[in-house]
């Protein structure tokens, strides 16, 4: 690993993708690590669900890892995000620990939400993740509100607002983009278009070909990126974040991607073909694509990649163990956190 240098990237600036110019090998290695972490976290969660260790439902973002990482990579740690029901990837990309995430899924007091929130409300406020949201488009105005705070407090923060293609037909999307634009708020809207809102394809639900086409209705730039290409996403995100930070207002990024799994645990996948799913899995897997670029630009070789994988395996195993070992909340404490406890 240590021998792989950035020199190759530096010698061919024109043909080298953004990420390989902008980030150090250590950073790129960490991106790969986090992509694995997302995938293995979700596979671990899925497995725990199947074994009855987790109840409720969950929405897996497997296949969308490059989007989460690419968007969050240019953020500072005190920048903020709002996320969605499909939010594990965003959470990890924004710096959360998988042990506390598993603990949350297991309903434990050590979980990020002390067992009160579960998958749909996973958050890590310490890292600027204001939370997943169970309401489609529910986080969009909240993100704009956080951006309003940032502007009022002049603290230089930028807010990323994640949502899905389905969410773009909610009124909250429209109202929020309009306000963000007229007040030039430091927010970046990221529509992760995975082609479907639950079972309903964007073609059936949405009157425009690209969600980004709607940006014009709010006088903001609308950018389409290949959401499975880490570098492309990071490049678009970086530009939008800089723009926001300069006070020039919001951008709408449409990150085209795909979820490998069903919508949630109760999906029979009747609305898409096996061929379509297989094509995305086999030809456009974001991790495989990123790995091949890492190899191509000399950042990691097979052994280096294997090393990353192995470290993630261990991290996941330890995290699950931590979650299992953690205590359940006391049922007498059901009313905790309904209101803020006032100092007596």
């Amino acid at each position: 690993m240590k021998n792989e240098s950035k020199s190759k990237a530096k010698s061919e600036p024109a043909n080298v993708p953004f990420a390989f110019r902008a980030y150090s090998p250590e950073q790129l290695r960490d991106v790969l690590r986090k992509m694995y972490l997302i995938r293995r976290f979700e596979e671990g969660a899925e497995d725990s669900y199947t074994r009855g260790l987790i109840h409720g439902t969950m929405h897996l973002s497997i296949g969308q890892e490059a989007s989460a990482l690419g968007i969050c990579m240019p953020l500072k740690s005190d920048d903020q995000i709002t996320s969605t029901h499909r939010g594990h990837g965003h959470c990890i990309a924004k710096g959360a620990q998988v042990d506390r995430m598993f603990a949350e899924f297991f309903g434990k007091t050590t979980g990020y939400c002390k067992g009160r929130g579960g998958s749909m409300h996973i958050a890590d406020v310490s890292q600027g993740n204001l939370g997943a949201n169970g309401i489609v488009a529910g986080g969009i105005p909240i993100a704009v509100g956080a951006a309003l705070s940032a502007k009022m407090q002049k603290n230089g923060k930028v807010v990323i607002c994640f949502f899905g293609d389905g969410a773009n037909n909610e009124g909250a999307f429209h109202e929020s983009l309009n306000m963000a634009s007229i007040w030039k708020l430091p927010v970046v809207f990221v529509c992760e278009n995975n082609g479907y809102g639950m079972s309903t394809s964007t073609a059936r639900s949405t009157a425009v070909a690209n969600i980004a086409d709607r940006a014009a209705g709010y006088s903001m730039p609308g950018v389409i990126v290949d959401g499975n290409n880490f570098s492309a996403v990071a490049e678009a995100s970086s530009a939008a974040i800089e723009r926001a930070r300069r006070g020039e207002g919001p951008t709408l990024i449409e990150s085209k991607t795909y979820r490998h799994r069903g919508h949630s645990k109760s999906d029979r996948n009747r609305y898409r073909t096996k061929e379509e799913i297989d094509e995305w899995k086999e030809l456009r897997d974001p991790i495989a694509l990123f790995e091949s670029e890492l190899r191509q630009f000399g950042i990691l070789n097979d052994a280096g990649i294997e090393e990353v994988r192995a470290s993630v395996e261990k991290e996941i195993a330890d995290a699950i163990q931590f979650a299992k070992d953690s205590p359940m909340p006391n049922t007498g404490a059901a009313l905790d956190y309904v209101y803020t406890e006032l100092p007596q």
């Binding site: 169970g134 909610e170 009124g171 639900s205 609305y271 049922t331």
Partner: protein, 332 residues
Amino acid sequence: MNSAVRELTYSQAIQEAMAIALESDPRVFLMGEDIGVYGGAFQVTGDLVERFGSDRVIDMPISELGGAGLAVGAAMTGMRPIFEFQFSDFATLAMEQIVNQAAKMRFMLGGEVSVPLVMRFPAGSGTGAAAQHSQSLEAWLAHVPGLKVIQPATPHDAKGLLLAAVQDPDPVMIFEHKLLYKVKGPVPEGHYTVPIGKAEIRRMGRDATIVATSIMVQKSLKAAEILQTEGIDVEIVDLRTIRPIDRETVINSVKKTTRLLCVYEAVKTLGIGAEISAMVAESEAFDYLDAPIMRLGGADSPIPYNPELEKSVVPQVPDIVAGIRNLVQGRR
């Protein structure tokens, strides 16, 4: 009409009611999110799209406010929409159209239109779906004149009340508890209706009345069996309709048993039990009461994700048993 009795699940009963409505009335159509090929988040619409086509079983975009408004407009102009919210919690997005438009349109226009609209709300906790997917918000709508609000507790009533709702000229809101969907019970074939506005006595008893709604009817029946072994004989009134309330059935039962416990899953404060209690307290039944009127409702808390916490914030069978015991034995 064949009235042979089979067992169906609650969700099959609803699906059958919708199929009958679609078959017999060309004005009826279904609209909701993922109710087509997906079959609905809780598989209630199932394969109806295959039987009736996507023009009558309409998958809509994720646009609850607009969708509800479309249903109102369609109902005002000759159609009979049955609108499914994917979770009752999402009614929060459509209250404008439900409350300001559907409920008041006939009144505001001096009787010149009616709004024969049915809305279905999968409601309640117990699925580990946490605070934004587990609410019981029926009391909000029962507070709104112009609406009718029902909460079927059995497969039989789910079908009969839905068919009554489809025939009703005014907007009818149906709250279906998600944990009931898989519950089985006898359901006659063919078309029949259960009258909106009529409660049903599920169990006759002498010592105390339970007025319960939705899944709490089932839990109360279990509690009554346990109480019977202790010699306490409970009468159970299944309210079925929470707007308008069947005052007479409730009051007669309380006059007979002289004790009342209201059991409901929604947040206790201002849940339907508050209305039942207040209605009895201002009625002639007041003079018959041998004990305070008690309520057993949900805790003053959002629904937590952790399954044990989740159970702890809504009434369970032992809570009902204890509640009646205290009421009858005067322990408080």
